[in-house]
Symmetry: C2
Subunit: 402 residues, 2 copies
């Protein structure tokens, strides 16, 4: 998370078209702006500091030079070790079916979302109308911008899936657990028209939500960023049922970037192997395992958040139902990567309110709902998160009147 | 380069929408299909085998985890060491001005080409007409497909720059040395309308052409793939004069892939440092330096190619003028990364002709000219290149009649 001195706040990009530009921290935080707008998953880094040696990769000068990775794979730029690691990880966690499916690696799931739009609207090319892309609100704030960025004639943003009533083909994006609100989602469009689905499962990992079933959908997107916190590696993957869709997605990644950095692929494969080995050697390993560590961190943070919210009485946050997790073998709540807060009556603009507390957040309108909602990252560093909790606990309604 | 057994040729993707899918080789080559369609720069790998230890990078488990790299840079996802290395490399080679310019790193120059289209057509957003993107034929075969891939309303393919006569705004792509034909290019559009330029300088490195001047254009694209042969790293960069264009290009890369893999950035920065150190310690180093090695390889290949072409009398190839290279301090020819061959009369389809010799190439129509032209990679492995030369030397006109 970005932490900057209050007096340097003009350099913090808060425009919706910007992204934070620092990982530096300054001391003390008391008078600082804290940025919980984006979801840089810094919290998970503390685990990898302890595992730094086990996960080390060494890349020599002549390694990994070709564009090409594997002639036998639809996704010809994917290293075989990357593909093997992804399948093994899903097998260990039990969160997605990979058997008889095709894996396409991408530069983050962001690129693969666009690859999926390309692939799914391509098969509609007999129509001259752009296909409508919809998602149930509150929806991830970037979907609309990613759909609209280059003004494609193939697809266009269609808004809230829950109220979609056109008799025209559509693509529904189902994000579960949902960014921003953490709820588990299913398709909601009731149109008679032909619909296709993209399941964005970025947060369907044990630290965020109980693994209740192996997801088994036509197009499923995952990202390593939210799985382990290695956002800088820019590795995402799609699990795709139809080989023609996988081919078109591969084609899109080829046209967009001629594949995916092999250095990242080999490193991510290594880290996944370390995780899987640790679970399969369970009993011989004394230190806490990754998903236990990260789930504990998320639970502790959510406990603190609920206490702070109870004290301030400014916001409310949903209570998530418990479910049995097949991976951790325990019943637990969802602990989303973002807090989705609703203002109590009397505060109309949650983002502006938090800005007075020097907390940068993302207002509800970006997610297709009102400004009385706000999203805050739960994945900041301990220092930033704890300062956020202090400020939230001390917040009083009268700040609105100042 | 891809080498597969002749009897497995159906698995070789030769469709224009495909990309090769193997780096394996089989012995002997005599009866094999050799793929010179794509430009995988395998030839340069032999140098890096010798330098493998010096260029090794070690990445620990907790390194490079954040999305963010540098708050102070327009291109916030670029590692400072990457930016420093790029500037230093251009300073050592003398092939481009970086002072008072902005560098934007991308997932290969492919992504940056699209980022530049986005940025330059964005400033035309007052117009409802897509801006025309043109390039002088023969032009790089992928430009048109990259322009058209998602059917943008912002820009559209406008064809051959040399015959562009619309009184409408345009973007001219100037590729110099040109892919496919190796010629040095300047803008050619004579329209009265407002034009913007993208200079694709992927091959403006000493092994391919004499460095006669520091290029100094508004938007210049480079790729590490063609510089050193590390195509698997997917690192390209743009050198941009106008900060607003750099911001929009950064925005595009953000929307497309939320930045560029840091593992690749740190490795590429390391390799560039090794190259620059070797030149700046010249005299104390006994082994051949990179650009000397690679230029020698290219010259040897072009010498062999010209002999083979002279023997077969099937094709002709342009003779390039000599020029003084400010970097190598000698006068030399251009040694392009591709051979651009023209059939003699009587052979109408060069690609089909070469296919009979079990040589995969890319026909002239993909480059906006006739099928009597063909492009072949000069960057294959020694084994593949030498087999190509043998087949070309032995080719006779009568194969056409078989």
């Amino acid at each position: 998370m970005v932490v900057v001195k209050a007096n340097s706040s003009p350099t913090v990009p808060t425009n919706k078209n910007s992204f934070p530009c620092s990982n530096g921290t300054t001391l003390p935080l008391t008078n600082s702006i804290i940025n919980l707008d984006q979801g840089d998953p810094v919290v998970l880094g503390s685990y990898w500091k302890k595992m730094s040696e086990e996960c080390t990769v060494v890349i020599k000068g002549s390694d990994l030079m070709s564009y090409i990775s594997d002639i036998s794979n639809v996704c010809w730029f994917m290293l075989p070790e990357m593909s093997d690691a992804i399948k093994r990880l899903h097998s260990v966690i039990g969160n997605a079916v990979t058997e008889e499916k095709h894996i396409v690696v991408g530069n983050g799931s962001t690129q693969l979302f666009q690859a999926a739009l390309f692939a799914l609207s391509h098969s509609h090319s007999h129509s001259s109308q752009p296909i409508n892309v919809v998602a149930s609100s509150p929806y991830y704030s970037e979907y609309q911008e990613e759909v609209e960025v280059v003004c494609s004639r193939m697809y266009q943003w269609g808004g809230d899936a829950a109220i979609y009533d056109k008799n025209e083909p559509y693509i529904e994006v189902v994000c579960s657990p949902n960014n921003p609100d953490g709820t588990l989602q299913i398709p909601v469009v009731r149109s008679e028209a032909e619909g296709k689905l993209i399941h964005d499962l970025a947060y369907y990992w044990p630290q965020y939500t109980p693994i209740t079933h192996q997801a088994d959908h036509d197009v499923m997107l995952f990202t390593f960023s939210k799985c382990t916190g290695h956002a800088g590696s820019r590795i995402g993957w799609a699990i795709v049922k139809d080989i023609e869709v996988a081919r078109k997605m591969t084609r899109f990644v080829q046209m967009s970037s001629i594949g995916v950095a092999k250095e990242s692929q080999t490193r991510v494969a290594k880290i996944i192997r370390v995780i899987c080995d640790s679970y399969q050697n369970y009993g011989s390993i004394e230190s806490e395992l990754f998903f236990e560590y990260s789930k504990r961190k998320m639970r502790e943070r959510w406990d603190k958040l609920r206490v702070a919210i109870g004290q301030s009485k400014i916001f409310t946050v949903a209570k998530f139902p418990k479910a049995y997790c097949n991976f951790t073998n325990e019943s637990s709540e969802t602990y989303p990567g973002f807090a989705w807060l609703k203002c109590e009556e009397g505060i109309e603009d949650a983002e502006s309110y938090l800005r007075k507390l020097k907390i940068l957040s993302r207002g509800g309108e970006r997610f297709g709902v009102g400004p009385n909602y706000v999203r805050l990252s739960m994945l900041a560093s301990d220092k930033v998160f704890n300062e956020f909790i202090v400020r939230l606990s001390n917040a009083k309604r009268d700040i609105v009147l100042k």
